[in-house]
């Protein structure tokens, strides 16, 4: 599994865990799938949980000054944010 695939798989599993999406819905997420504002499960508490779980599971540190609303707009945005952080 390449690094990019690993980040993608980790992120899908994390969203399935936090949002209770189930494996099928998590696997069906595309670049354009809306998150915050689209998925009713994705509230401000879920945003907070996703950020902390990303730190723990991807072994990264997230400076909250880097976090703006845009990264939660779509799955693609969140994935690219995670990949940037993993690459350092």
């Amino acid at each position: 599994m390449t690094e990019a695939h690993k980040v993608d798989a980790t992120l899908r599993a994390l969203l399935a865990d936090v949002l209770g999406l189930g494996d099928e819905r998590a696997a069906a997420l595309t670049e354009d799938s809306g998150l915050f504002g689209e998925l009713p499960e994705f509230d401000s508490m879920a945003v907070a949980t996703v950020l902390t779980e990303m730190e723990d599971r991807l072994g990264i540190l997230i400076d909250d000054d880097d976090v703006d609303g845009e990264i939660f707009e779509t799955y693609g945005n969140l994935l690219r944010f995670a990949e940037r952080k993993v690459q350092g």
């Binding site: 865990d17 936090v18 949002l19 209770g20 499960e41 509230d43 401000s44 508490m45 879920a46 945003v47 907070a48 949980t49 950020l51 902390t52 779980e53 730190e55 723990d56 909250d64 000054d65 609303g69």
Partner: protein, 224 residues
């Protein structure tokens, strides 16, 4: 002050008492149904199972803003001191931050977590909610504010002492200890991290797996 405690036990003398240290804050509510299912499964196997409220939790007459982790550690130890017979402590998530002062025959921990991680999630929920309300806050500004006054984080009013103690708290060494994660393998049980979810429901299979793993650990330790 007397706190409420839930006790589920078989008739007669139990094999041992399983004393639960629940996850902290919102995670406690999300996990409670599944913990109580595990307690019933343990009682069916001859164990007593106890889930205490600590000061500031659930039905407690004490305000959450008046407690910190030290108070929870000593309150949990006091609950243990009042139980007759052998005790196995079962701590989930942040429960592992308050389980080490109690006297027990053995410890069992599921997905233990550091206080810093719990605190960051609570602070982030506040920042995120503030942003929706058009207020600018940050983890740093909130932690600065928390030095001088209680801080309302995701519905929890936390004292300066609680914020400080959470920031630096890690699960402490205890022995004998079995630590399990969620997943597969010898050091894990199958299940879902309900404590992360807004709408957790319950996980009956995980509750049975928790009970079975604790019962096996009790036998391994020669307790019953």
């Amino acid at each position: 002050m007397d706190e409420h405690r839930l006790r589920i036990a078989p008739d007669g003398t139990p094999r041992a008492t399983i004393l639960f240290a629940a996850p902290l804050f919102e995670e406690a509510n999300r996990s409670r149904r599944t913990i109580v299912r595990a307690m019933r499964a343990l009682a069916a196997q001859g164990f007593a199972a106890v889930l205490p409220d600590l000061p500031g939790q659930n039905e407690s007459p004490v305000a959450l803003a008046d407690v910190d982790l030290n108070r929870w550690q000593s309150a949990f130890a006091e609950v243990a001191s009042e139980i007759e017979g052998p005790i196995i402590i079962a701590a989930l998530r942040g429960g592992a931050l308050i389980d080490h002062q109690a006297a027990a025959a053995a410890w069992w921990r599921l997905a233990p977590v550091g206080g810093g991680s719990l605190l960051r999630t609570l602070l982030r929920a506040r920042v995120s909610a503030d942003r929706e309300a058009g207020v600018t806050s940050s983890l740093d500004s909130l932690q600065e504010q928390a030095k001088s006054e209680p801080l309302l984080l995701a519905g929890n009013r936390l004292s300066p002492a609680m914020v400080v103690s959470l920031a630096t708290s890690e699960p402490q060494a205890v022995t004998p200890l079995r630590t399990v994660a969620l997943g597969s393998g010898d050091e894990a049980i199958a299940g879902t991290p309900l404590w992360l979810r807004a709408e957790p429901g319950e996980d009956a299979a995980m509750a049975d797996a928790i009970a079975a793993d604790i019962a096996a650990w009790s036998r391994t330790c020669g307790i019953s």
